[in-house]
């Protein structure tokens, strides 16, 4: 187990090193002089100011050294300063992080809370009209653009019915963004739960349990649900990263003050240090999350760590 964890941490470290390298090199995609682009606040930056900024960012170093300069700064906790307002990038990002997490987990809760029962039900009633309807809903859910769904929900629940606020700070204003975010992943989870359950229903031990004459509810909840859980839970690991991605878009539909909204603002202002910080933070979250999930999974199912 310890060996597995160490190995997993090692691969995560490699992943982070490569991601930080890519993030560092992104700056060279900018057409033109990145430093001149960054000095936007000054209508006419002096050559000295340009040189100072270039030096601070390490862009006056040879390409291969730039990365070490960048990582060196990262290791001291310095993600640079934003161009606009010249505030520490780390601080700006951390301020928004709780909001994004809140939205992502609320979305995940909705996706799982509704997706799993629906998938379970569809598998149980396999072939019925309800199954078909649920699967049609699943295809629709995967196909609907979440930003449009968000607008439609606003139109219905805020504008027409007046039930929920459009934007705001309290928990009620989180309902619509969370539902918007959740629906897509609800569809995916429902589809996967269904496949997994169909699989489980055909397993020997279920047939045995049924043959023994156990009540159907016990067969379902004691025997079928648990093995299915583990398979479906693996899916959550996959979905999580994409859910965080979806949150970026949804935040911008609902003026939800998280990382995604910050990122779009940073892009609009061409605030490159902030964009770099955002990408790196997102990458780190996803990597850390996958390590945690892997370790937890290995702990639940010891066969994994032997592989």
């Amino acid at each position: 187990m310890t060996r597995f964890i160490l190995r997993r941490l090692f691969t995560a470290l490699i992943t982070l090193i490569i991601s930080s390298f890519l993030v560092c090199m992104l700056i060279h995609l900018i057409p033109g002089d990145p430093v001149a682009m960054m000095m936007a606040q000054n209508s006419s930056p002096t050559p000295e100011q340009l040189a100072a900024m270039r030096h601070m960012l390490g862009l006056d170093l040879p390409l291969w050294q730039q990365y070490f300069h960048y990582v060196g700064r990262l290791l001291t906790g310095d993600m640079g300063r934003s161009i606009f307002g010249s505030e520490p990038v780390g601080k700006l990002l951390l301020e928004r992080l709780p909001n994004t997490f809140a939205l992502a987990f609320a979305g995940l809760a909705i996706a799982i809370g509704f997706g799993m029962p629906l998938g379970f039900f569809a598998a149980y009633k396999k072939g019925s009209w309800a199954d078909s309807a649920l699967m049609a809903f699943a295809v629709a859910g995967v196909s609907v653009p979440n930003f449009w769904l968000g607008l439609m929900l606003v139109l219905l629940f805020s504008m027409t019915l007046g039930w929920l606020p459009v934007a705001g700070e309290d928990w009620r204003s989180m309902i619509l963004p969370a539902v918007t975010l959740g629906v897509t992943y609800m569809a995916i989870i429902a589809r996967m739960t269904r496949s997994a359950m169909i699989e489980v229903f055909s397993e020997d031990f279920i047939r045995t349990a049924r043959a023994k004459g156990l009540p159907e509810s016990i067969v379902m909840f004691r025997h079928a649900l648990r093995p299915a859980m583990i398979s479906v839970v693996t899916i959550i690991g996959v979905v999580f990263g994409y859910l965080m991605g979806g949150a970026v878009v949804v935040e911008n539909v609902f003026s939800w003050n998280g990382l995604g909204r910050l990122a779009i603002q940073a892009i609009n202002y061409r605030d490159y240090p902030l964009i770099q910080g955002f990408i790196l933070l997102f990458a780190t979250i996803i990597v850390v999350m996958s390590v945690l999930l892997d370790i937890a999974y290995a702990w639940l199912d010891p066969r994994i760590s032997v592989q």
Binding site: W148, V154, I198, I235, N252, Y272, I279
Partner: protein, 300 residues
């Protein structure tokens, strides 16, 4: 960007092992229904795009074709926008952009992905291993992050958005290709061809590719829907198509400012994206099952 076909497809393989032949047949019929509906809509959207100039009642960019913000009616079936432009005409011309964006993005992703995946599978060894490790690594990250990062630094416009969306899907195509080629490679006919003295390139092009193609059609179709969604999302965020392009995502982005009073500005383009994406998803699902139900495992 929002919905992620790659994730949807990355179901653990054993989960889809099917049960009885009767159910299987049933499933296939059900699936062929999705093939028909999906394919039908895809063809319809393509025809609309091709014949847009003939179909659209107005020039999509014509300001003042009608009163500003006119509600849907006989003359303007979907109403007019803030410039008095006919929304229906803009939605019709938008089909062109959507298909174009999808083709370019899938083209970039598929081309690079197939080359990388096939190289890794065919070469094998430490080189192939390293290549796939890198691809796996990139696959960990949501495509939104990759596309967003690229557009942020390349600069926001439609061309860059298409490139970014294409690149962000490379890991997906590479992984699928790798899996498919690897399993084909182990089949006797590849060895046979090599024994006969066929060169590597010849083996790949003449023997491997024809077998690899069918699953790639499925992958491309599903990838197409993901690309359309991603590009529309980028445009919605102001990072893709720029005004006055009648691109659906952009139309939603400007239309949202009028949602309180003139909601039709966001209904037409939204429905158009939704239907198109769903059509490609259905079509991809349908093709997969028609080709061979067992292909399911490989394209996942």
């Amino acid at each position: 960007m929002s919905v992620v076909v790659p994730a949807a497809q990355s179901l653990p393989a054993p989960l889809t092992r099917m049960a009885s032949p009767r159910r299987l047949l049933l499933r296939r019929m059900l699936r062929s229904r999705s093939f028909l509906i999906g394919g039908g809509i895809v063809v319809f959207v393509a025809l609309v795009a091709i014949f847009a100039p003939g179909l659209a009642p107005f020039d999509p960019d014509r300001i003042g074709a009608g009163k500003r913000l006119a509600a849907p009616g006989a003359k303007f079936l979907l109403g007019t926008d803030e410039f008095g432009r006919d929304i229906l005409s803009r939605v019709i011309f938008g089909a062109r952009y959507t298909l174009y964006i999808g083709l370019v993005a899938v083209g970039i992703g598929l081309l690079c992905g197939v080359v990388i995946g096939a190289t890794a599978a065919y070469a094998g060894g430490w080189f192939g291993g390293l290549l796939m490790r890198t691809i796996d690594l990139l696959y960990t990250f949501p495509d939104v992050l990759i596309a967003l990062g690229l557009v942020a630094f390349l600069g926001p416009n439609l061309t860059n958005a298409m490139i970014a969306v294409g690149i962000s899907a490379i890991p997906y195509y590479a992984r699928v290709t790798y899996g498919v080629v690897l399993s084909e490679r182990q089949k006797p006919y590849v060895d046979a061809a090599q024994v006969v003295g066929a060169g590597h390139l010849r083996v790949v092009v003449r023997h491997l590719m024809p077998n690899v193609l069918p699953p790639m059609i499925v992958v491309a179709s599903l990838g197409f829907s993901a690309a359309v969604l991603s590009a529309a999302a980028l445009s919605f965020l102001g990072l893709g198509a720029q005004p006055p392009t009648p691109e659906w995502g952009l139309m939603l982005s400007t239309g949202r400012n009028y949602i309180t009073r003139d909601p039709w500005l966001v209904i037409g383009p939204g429905v158009a994206i939704f239907i198109t994406v769903m059509a490609f998803n259905l079509f991809g699902d349908g093709v997969r099952d028609l080709l061979d139900p067992r292909q399911r495992q490989r394209t996942q």
